[in-house]
């Protein structure tokens, strides 16, 4: 299949006024402004294949939103290239945006004072959605996103969760092959989040290519096979989600409680354990030790009462990546 998104050495710089402090700071800023260049996105490259669902994660200010804004044609890159479905987003913006769907979790696109359905009707005309397709999509989204109870209500009267569901529906009525979701679950409760994930899953099954930006790593764990981790405008990791955990922290935890405690719990081939109450906690590198073999031999040789293997949490792994990087990067 052809690559749908191609990004090469993409860079975006912003020139910001460096504000001076002190008594005469504002005065000096007015007459002799000093500018400083900030590189929000620093030469990133990646490809997206049709049908992929990618989690795009990184701490605040990492450059995620800036990337999305360039990918959706809102911002003009300072350097590098973006080619999406053969188009350069910012150059062919009007033609291009008819082919994509965008949801900004912190912005609204629906008409504030009018019923949701009115906004959808306008979008139908704007995107030239044929009648049957409109009916089909609306019917489907009503079910998945549970829109029926508020389709006739003015947007301003909706709860945040309802509004986000309506926004998702609006962004997808024209069947775009490519969807950009910028923090679609921000500020939502668990139930609302799950409903939105269900919708994303549905679109993914239908073959839509989706780039998902989020701070909620549960979104990523539940939905994405591939993740890209961004910090300081650079991609720190791009690949499989499972590999991410093993690559950055290969260590699992094995917690064992034996029938007779009192020994030092030393096991051959493993580091000495730490005692936590009834449990001995061993750190295991699955690349060196086969966990299934270890567990079965342990049951044969020792009177095991309870045994538990804990995989590192994605959150911890990601935090490690951020922390390591920021230690190595001079400010």
């Amino acid at each position: 299949m052809d690559t749908i998104v191609q990004v090469r050495h993409l860079t975006k710089e912003f020139r910001v006024l460096h504000r001076r402090s002190g008594k005469w700071g504002a005065w000096n800023d007015f007459f002799h402004p000093q500018y400083r260049t900030i590189r929000a996105v620093d030469g990133i490259s990646f490809d997206i294949q049709p049908g992929e669902l990618i989690g795009y994660i990184g701490p605040n200010g990492a450059g995620k939103s800036t990337t999305i804004k360039m990918l959706t044609g809102l911002l003009v890159p300072t350097g590098g290239e973006i080619l999406v479905k053969g188009m350069i987003p910012w150059k062919d913006r009007r033609k291009y945006v008819a082919n994509i769907g965008v949801v900004f979790g912190q912005r609204r696109t629906l008409w504030w004072d009018l019923p949701v359905i009115d906004s959808l009707e306008v979008l139908k005309a704007i995107y030239r959605i044929p009648d049957p397709l409109f009916k089909h999509n609306l019917g489907m989204f009503r079910k998945i996103l549970d829109l029926d109870s508020f389709l006739e209500s003015p947007v301003r009267s909706l709860s945040l969760g309802q509004r986000m569901r309506a926004e998702l529906c609006a962004a997808f009525l024209h069947n775009p092959a490519l969807l950009f979701l910028d923090e679609p679950t921000i500020g939502l409760d668990v139930v609302a989040k799950e409903r939105i994930r269900e919708f994303i899953r549905h679109l993914h099954r239908e073959g839509t290519t989706i780039l998902l930006t989020t701070h909620d790593l549960t979104d990523v764990e539940r939905l994405c096979e591939r993740v890209m981790v961004l910090d300081w405008g650079k991609i720190l990791y791009d690949g499989n989600l499972q590999e991410l955990t093993s690559r950055f922290e290969g260590v699992n935890e094995m917690r064992v409680s034996f029938a007779e405690n009192g020994e030092d719990g030393l096991l051959e081939g493993l580091e000495p354990p730490v005692r936590e109450g009834r449990y001995y906690v061993y750190r295991i590198d699955p690349r060196k030790v086969s966990i299934p073999d270890l567990v079965s031999s342990l049951y044969r040789t020792h009177p095991v009462v309870d045994l538990e293997i804990r995989k590192p949490k994605l959150e911890d792994t990601i935090r490690k990546i951020y922390e390591n990087k920021s230690l190595n990067t001079p400010d």
Binding site: F14, S65, K69, T72, G73, L74, L75, V76, W90, R93, R94, K95, V97, A98, I100, V102, F104, G105, Q106, R107, R108, T109, W111, W112, D113, L114, D118, S119, E121, V122, A125, I126, Y127, R128, D182, E183, I186
Partner: protein
């Protein structure tokens, strides 16, 4: 085209939801209309005609220009500029419609509602206080409406031009206030251009502003000679081309500098 009409429609419906604001606006216009009319009568000091405009014509001028405040958004606004500074422009830019056309539709929808509620209703109420002139020839009504459409377009593109400044400056309020002050004065809204010194109305003819208010009013009153009429329409048309061109050019330049802050 269908999309444009839908945008006009939804904008009109949105405007209709602000009933209280519409009625309040109507009465504000009425209050200041009566004030302006009384002042003009006082200034005429019993003169029957000043520079080809009699008292009745001047009062009709005030009534019409007052009625068109909301329709033409003669005081200006910085609504579009704000979307640049707060980033909500993003929602418009991800739609496959030309940005300026989108705003044209939005403004037109609102203006049509204002034309009826704060225009026609206003004239109805105002005529309870003063007697107004009504043209008897169909032709003049026709010319008036054509001129009024041009003046709406001129107002729209003038406002757009001022708002496009937001791509270059994070706060255009001060600049916009100055710009809209100029356009109110030179358009003949503050006082009919005919009642101002000759050098001033000659100067104003070098700006697009008379086409935004003075021309349709004088077309309505039938003061123009046929050649002046032609000149007035030519003036409106030329300036419309210039403003449209400037808006498109500035938009193309500005969009490349866009910085969308936040999330």
């Amino acid at each position: 085209m269908q999309a444009f009409l839908k945008i006009v429609g939804i904008s009109a419906r949105q405007q209709m939801t602000y009933r209280t604001a519409l009625v309040a606006g109507l009465f504000t216009n009425l209050f200041f209309g009566i004030l302006r009319a009384s002042l003009l009568i006082a200034l005429y000091q019993g003169e029957t005609s000043v520079n080809g405009m009699d008292v009745g014509g001047a009062i009709t001028y005030v009534a019409l220009s007052q009625a068109m405040i909301a329709y033409l958004t003669i005081f200006g606004n910085t609504e579009m500029g704000r979307t640049v500074s707060d980033g909500s422009i993003a929602s418009d830019l991800i739609k496959p419609v030309h940005f300026i056309l989108l705003w044209l539709g939005r403004d037109l929808g609102r203006s049509l509602v204002n034309f009826v509620v704060r225009g026609l209703f206003f004239i109805g109420l105002f005529s309870l206080f003063y007697s107004l002139y009504y043209p008897l020839e169909i032709g003049r009504w026709f010319l008036f409406f054509v001129s009024l459409i041009f003046s709406w377009l001129l107002n729209f593109f003038w406002r757009m031009l001022v708002n496009l400044g937001a791509f270059w400056s994070p706060d255009i309020q001060g600049f916009a206030r100055l710009a809209f002050g100029f356009s109110q004065l030179f358009s003949g809204f503050v006082l009919p251009l005919r009642l101002l010194p000759d050098w001033f109305s000659r100067l104003s003819n070098w700006t697009p502003f008379p086409g935004m208010m003075n021309h349709p009013m004088e077309v309505y009153l039938g003061i123009y000679s046929p050649s002046q009429l032609l000149g007035a329409f030519g003036h409106q048309l030329i300036w419309l081309f210039i403003l449209v061109f400037l808006c498109l050019a500035l938009f193309r330049l500005g969009i490349r500098r866009l910085v969308i802050q936040g999330g």
